[in-house]
């Protein structure tokens, strides 16, 4: 019995880091120099503006890619909206406002919606590497309407799971909320069951290979790693799966990756 417990604990300690891609973190302490983060966030903003993007889906690499499951590159996704900004001192300017779903610090099974700046967004990045989807201009208009409406908040489910099943509304993470907003925009609806039915019918989530033991141990370690909303197989929404969905349905005009020194098409 003791040996079994020993094996389980070692397995727990050894396997859980491979799930280290929660990543919906808000401006956590960065390993990167703040000046580099700031310069990169400005580079991304200017790149988006140069392409005339009013709304973009931007992903950051919040964890070391070597600990991410196969098929997962980015850990956090948000909407960037070109906006007129007014600061407390009355000064105004234009730039991108970032609309995030962040996991709460004091309760990792809960999330909240937070707006911040591009620099805040990349503050928690492990590597300065952004995945970007610029939606088709027609979809951008629809997205703007939804983001600026009560629907955006209505689509938020604060019950957070790293591996939330996008086909159900039991849990939600940042990528699922992003997908829900995209679907609400495409189908002009805020009806959650309808949105989930459409996701189940048309969206292919990223499969995550998790053995039975790892599933059990993960949910024991943290409720934020629960897979109770999945069947035998675990699959979740990721930046990559959203990009594939939008490309295959002609919902995106550009999908690319930007780093401090280059831009690469996916």
């Amino acid at each position: 019995m003791k040996r079994l417990l020993l094996i389980m604990c070692i397995a727990l300690a050894g396997t859980l880091p491979s799930l280290a891609w929660a990543g919906s973190s808000e401006a956590g302490k960065s390993l990167l120099p703040a000046a580099d983060v700031a310069a990169f966030s400005n580079r991304v903003q200017q790149d988006l503006a140069a392409r005339g993007a009013n709304v973009a889906i931007v992903a950051r690499m919040g964890r070391d890619p070597s600990v991410l499951p196969p098929g997962v590159q980015y850990t956090h996704v948000s909407f960037w909206v070109y906006s007129q900004i007014t600061r407390a001192d009355g000064s105004t300017g234009r730039g991108y406002q970032v609309y995030n779903l962040y996991q709460k610090d004091d309760d990792q099974t809960r999330s909240h919606l937070v707006q911040d700046s591009p620099a805040d967004f990349f503050a928690g990045a492990h590597r300065l590497d952004a995945g970007i989807i610029i939606p088709d201009i027609r979809l951008q208009k629809k997205l703007l309407k939804v983001i600026a409406s009560p629907t955006y908040r209505a689509l938020h489910n604060p019950r957070y799971s790293v591996l939330a099943n996008p086909n159900t509304s039991q849990f939600q993470n940042c990528t699922e909320h992003t997908l829900d907003v995209v679907m609400a925009s495409v189908y002009n609806t805020r009806d959650v069951p309808q949105i989930k039915a459409n996701i189940a019918a048309h969206f292919q989530p990223q499969p995550i290979k998790l053995g039975g033991a790892k599933r059990v141990l993960a949910s024991i370690a943290s409720q934020a790693l629960t897979t109770n909303d999945h069947g035998a197989k675990v699959a979740t929404a990721t930046f990559g799966s959203i990009a594939r969905f939008m490309r295959s349905n002609k919902l995106a005009s550009e999908i690319y990756r930007i780093t401090p020194d280059k831009v690469t098409r996916f």
Partner: protein, 109 residues
């Protein structure tokens, strides 16, 4: 010996668990620091200082866009809040399953 190993393994596993959930908190102070750094790096997309009061999406389709010199700084939670259609905990109301037929494949008009 086994007990010792078991204890160590338990401690190890408990210590490891916070690492995968990631830092989730709202560290506004750090956000301000990053934004301040941004302001000093020329492109002027970001400025430091007090939090953004408002951020209004701009509808400028088909025109050229630029990042202006006094853009954004936001550490607030203007969209954070309670109350949404999905937050059903504590309502005590049974949820009636509903069968929904999906729409056709997504397409833009």
């Amino acid at each position: 010996m086994t007990i010792r190993f078991t204890s160590l393994a338990i401690i190890f596993s408990l210590a490891a668990s916070p690492s995968f959930a990631g830092p989730s908190g709202q560290h506004s102070a750090q956000s301000v620091e990053h934004s301040a750094q941004a302001a000093s790096h020329g492109s002027a997309a970001l400025v430091s200082g007090a939090a953004t009061v408002t951020a209004v999406p701009i509808m400028l389709f088909g025109t050229s866009m630029a990042i202006s010199g006094a853009a954004l700084k936001e550490v607030g939670e203007s969209t954070a809040g309670i109350g949404n259609d999905l937050y059903l905990e504590g309502t005590g109301q049974a949820i009636t399953p509903r069968i929904v037929t999906p729409n056709g494949a997504p397409a833009l008009d």
